[in-house]
Symmetry: C3
Subunit: 262 residues, 3 copies
Amino acid sequence: MEDTGHYLQRMRARAPLVQNITNNVAMNMMANVQIAAGASPAMADAAEEVVEFTALADALTVNIGTADSLKAMSMRLAGAAMNGHGRPWVFDPVGVGATQFRNDLCRDLLALCPTVVRGNASEILTLAGRGKGARGVDAVDSVASAEAAARELAGRTGHIVVATGPVDYVTDGTRALWVANGDPMMAKITVSGCSLNGVIAAFLVEQPPLEATAAALAYYGLAGERAAAVCAGPGTFQPAFLDALYALTPEDVTQGARIEAA
Amino acid sequence: MEDTGHYLQRMRARAPLVQNITNNVAMNMMANVQIAAGASPAMADAAEEVVEFTALADALTVNIGTADSLKAMSMRLAGAAMNGHGRPWVFDPVGVGATQFRNDLCRDLLALCPTVVRGNASEILTLAGRGKGARGVDAVDSVASAEAAARELAGRTGHIVVATGPVDYVTDGTRALWVANGDPMMAKITVSGCSLNGVIAAFLVEQPPLEATAAALAYYGLAGERAAAVCAGPGTFQPAFLDALYALTPEDVTQGARIEAA
Amino acid sequence: MEDTGHYLQRMRARAPLVQNITNNVAMNMMANVQIAAGASPAMADAAEEVVEFTALADALTVNIGTADSLKAMSMRLAGAAMNGHGRPWVFDPVGVGATQFRNDLCRDLLALCPTVVRGNASEILTLAGRGKGARGVDAVDSVASAEAAARELAGRTGHIVVATGPVDYVTDGTRALWVANGDPMMAKITVSGCSLNGVIAAFLVEQPPLEATAAALAYYGLAGERAAAVCAGPGTFQPAFLDALYALTPEDVTQGARIEAA
């Protein structure tokens, strides 16, 4: 693929408006992450306006973390509307397998053809019908153990599937990439996965989805590495992470990205 | 007007209880901002209790950022109740123009006579019926281009109207003030505008509204200047901003305020 | 009681999954606090799935801060379900006394037998039927003035009752402990009380509730002391507090805990 930094550069030049229907834990951090990266977030998520709002959005994220029936309706409507506009959206099946409500909602959202499905290894295994059950919202499986399921799910649905973990795995069902950027400290704060969705969505706008997703993962992980090097714990990690997302240049990303064909 | 710091001093002496019906992105930061400034926030926003709760509140803020029909009902009820108590409230028409739902809600809230309407230039232009359309929740117009609309809207409705941006414009329809405090870094974090509403509301309690609003804007902007001088990016800006809101003295505000008659 | 640090050590060894039905202000900070402490938070709070989700949870917290009728239903259902599982849950009656809606919900939740009730002095007095009325969500009474009410409430209901303040008071109706750890800066940020609930819940898992609660209070207060010693204000306090929760060892807690029989 092209120099990784080019994907960041083009995203920043566009400063895409990303609509986010996400969980209430993630909203603030997710918005700050997107602004720091160079995108423009909007958290409009009410069923009353969500379809109309998609007309303004360059991309969408959908995250079921704290969904109820009303938010679930917003998600289905907005995902379908983005398909109608021919614009990308990212789906995060948080905690799928934990309850029937989550399973039913994820089945519908998957059927609505998101551009990218991103989850931890356990969530991807569960979506692919191979899960052994999750433990709440945390992964209990390794990314390696989810690679075949991710590839099969991507091949069957036509979506990009991403399993994130110490090394991320991205596949379109035919090709696959590993992205090795990141730091264990990223798992010591909440919503680092949720916030990533917003960065992926911003990178997807008018860029090839497999490569754009891998570039977003590398950029995000690199910011995590930088922040971990200067923080004193998970509390000071968070501001340092936002600073790093803001400060990283396309050249930094090209030099620091660790992406390999899988 | 009087020394700007006096408005801060009296607000802190009263430590007013401010009720906030705000968006889910802003709730945490907004509460922290109000505590750091010296007020006492309460985020009671359910239609089930919002009217009864206004009996305890010295001031109210209403922000439509992530409103749905139920929250919209809370907003209408609480605004009307504050009028009944003769106590001030601040209305923030986030993203008006983006959807019909927002437009309808803003029409009602404007008709309920908020003490202060605060928005970015695009939102004020749209409220005044002169908007060319927003881009989601971000301004695409300059404050200067919104001054006539703000003055006309204030004159017609009797509210204080504030258009915030690099230089803020505050008017009651007859008189007008510019407030030049602030730093571009404030636009690199989410909800800095939303959180400002809570500070304005606290300053409004038993103080003349035009001057109190300008003093709140100067104080808030000055804290942004201080934080920008010591931060390394938008992540470290946020804690530094709260520290500055907490540390600024009335004397600092009197010395640092840049308020001019417009 | 045993060395205080042992309670932290065992909690971390278990890394319990704590389900939280909390207010929208607290969600993010509360999740970060629990991760930093060593627990695994899940914020599943929709009535559609809350009972099914309790099957996965080792402990639960319920906080009425921004409850509406739907969230109130989730709280009643989840509390009852945890009783069915024989697993601990913590109830925080935020702002009880402020509105009839809060009073009605608190009456029900108290009747559902939470393991621990934690509030500020005014909330505990109100729950015990001795309140003189609150001022929104902030305490207007001293912990000392609430001790008799706490002891009586605990004796009558069989719950552990905690009144937090400069010195915390913990009682099961027969025995009582004072915990003197903490720093006034903890009151200068929002949701420090709400976030504490999640730490208490994590400590309660398979540990004796009176001692586990006191140990959680000491650990949490000690982290506040450490953070206050290095911060420059309430903004920088928050990241330093999370760092301290993460860094404190069982030995630190044993040495620093200030727990006394009352």
